[in-house]
Amino acid sequence: MSANKAIVEFEEAGFAYSDEAETLSDINLRLHEGEFRFLTGPSGAGKTTLLKMIYLAHKPTRGHFRLFGEDTAGAPRDALPPLRRRIGVVFQEFRLLDHLTAFDNVALPMKVAGINQNQYREDVSELLNWVGLGHRMNAKPPTLSGGEQQRVALARALVSKPDLILADEPTGNVDPAMSERIMKLFIELNKLGAAVIVATHNLHLVQSLGKPVLRIADGRVSHSAGAGGAG
């Protein structure tokens, strides 16, 4: 068991969309500072739903959920944004703002945190250069390819140096070389202290990196140790 503090804690939690049967049931999950987990499962199993609960887009319909030690069910509304700022999310559908440039999309978490542009301009430019989009800083998402949009979304998730990184199929639209670089980046960021959860269908990636895995099947989350590789 890790000596680090738990930053994501579910206890007997469940989630149902409106009055339907629970999509996820009896979730008991703890993720500590600096831990890395893959999240796997068939399509529609509830991977994205679990991530949404963690990044506070959905509230569990039963049970308890604590994020960074805060009981989110009882937290006042204005306590949630500071928690969200500690999370970097790479959405499966990217969710970039079409009317903003790539630069402004990446800078969004800094802007909403009220940080002066002079303080983040260099980081944003550097990240965009790193993901190979230094020449497309002024491009708007509709003019970018799927892979380029995914890289902008990745840069946006990382720019605020979050304590928790959630990535929903982050390698779905990029070539194998870029996939490898992105996963190596997550691992490096994890070494620097960020907890990481990567939802993916790419079992080859999961097996090759040998990190612990959360599997979702039939609405339930199970844990398994990673196979091979360094943990």
Partner: protein, 317 residues
Amino acid sequence: MSERPLTDHPEFDDAPPPEAPRIHRFRREPLLPEAGAGGAPLTAVIAVISFLAVLSMASVLIINKSASEWTAELRSEITVQVKGVDAEEIAAGAAAAMRILNETEGVIEAMEMDRDDTAALLEPWLGKDNAAAFVNIPAIIEVKVTPGLRADLDLLRTRLAAAAPNASLDDHAAWHSRLSTAARSGQMFAFAVFLIILGAACAISIFAARAGLAANHEIVSVLHLVGATDEFIASEVQRRFFVLGLRGALAGLVVALAALGTAALSLKSGIGTDSFLPQFSIGGWMVLWLFAVPLATCLVTALTARLTVLKALQEQY
């Protein structure tokens, strides 16, 4: 996470060589797109509202100015009327009254109206040229007085009654009261119209803010997910509405000032400068009030949008 720069770790050693420096346009992009927040249609509606608001405020100011001028004139004048059975008795009474008036401290000027002018005043009742046939047309004395004397006319009344028993003094109190009441009613009506117009601006803002929020649902959701507070989002909407409102309000002000100027010129050329009606003119502090109207309109618009968005965010997210 570490406070080291994000790209200052081994993984970034694999990064592609830095791109040649490129210029990024570091201008402040609005986080909500202009069209989604109402855009041109909202600007046009605010322009119309501002135009009407400026006209209604101008009505308040013009009525106030006119009433002040009318009542000031009435308050500085009194009228002495001398009746009698024949012209001799009237003339004797008028002379006695003039003597008393000229001796009274506070009388600036006393002037007896010409008999023909007095007869002309009676023409509406007696018919043209008939009035002159009457021998007992009262003498009318117009008296300009100081505010001090105007405040206490009892002594003058007593002295007039003693010197010319047929003389009566009219201080225009009834006229003054009626005019003040009419002016106050007119002002209240115009101000009520002004408030209703501002209410319309509020209603439009609520509608546009809600529509904008619905149209930008995805953007608002993303802003929330990257850590934006309700206040931050509401401030973005407020800024957007203030800019749109200011554009529209200034356009409305310009058109309203042009309309008022045209009306003032038309009236001046139509009724001349010697009319009983005060001059219809706008200047000085009145212009400042009119400039405050579009500012109030866009502030109302922006604040209403802010409150609407805050309420909607609490309800929807």
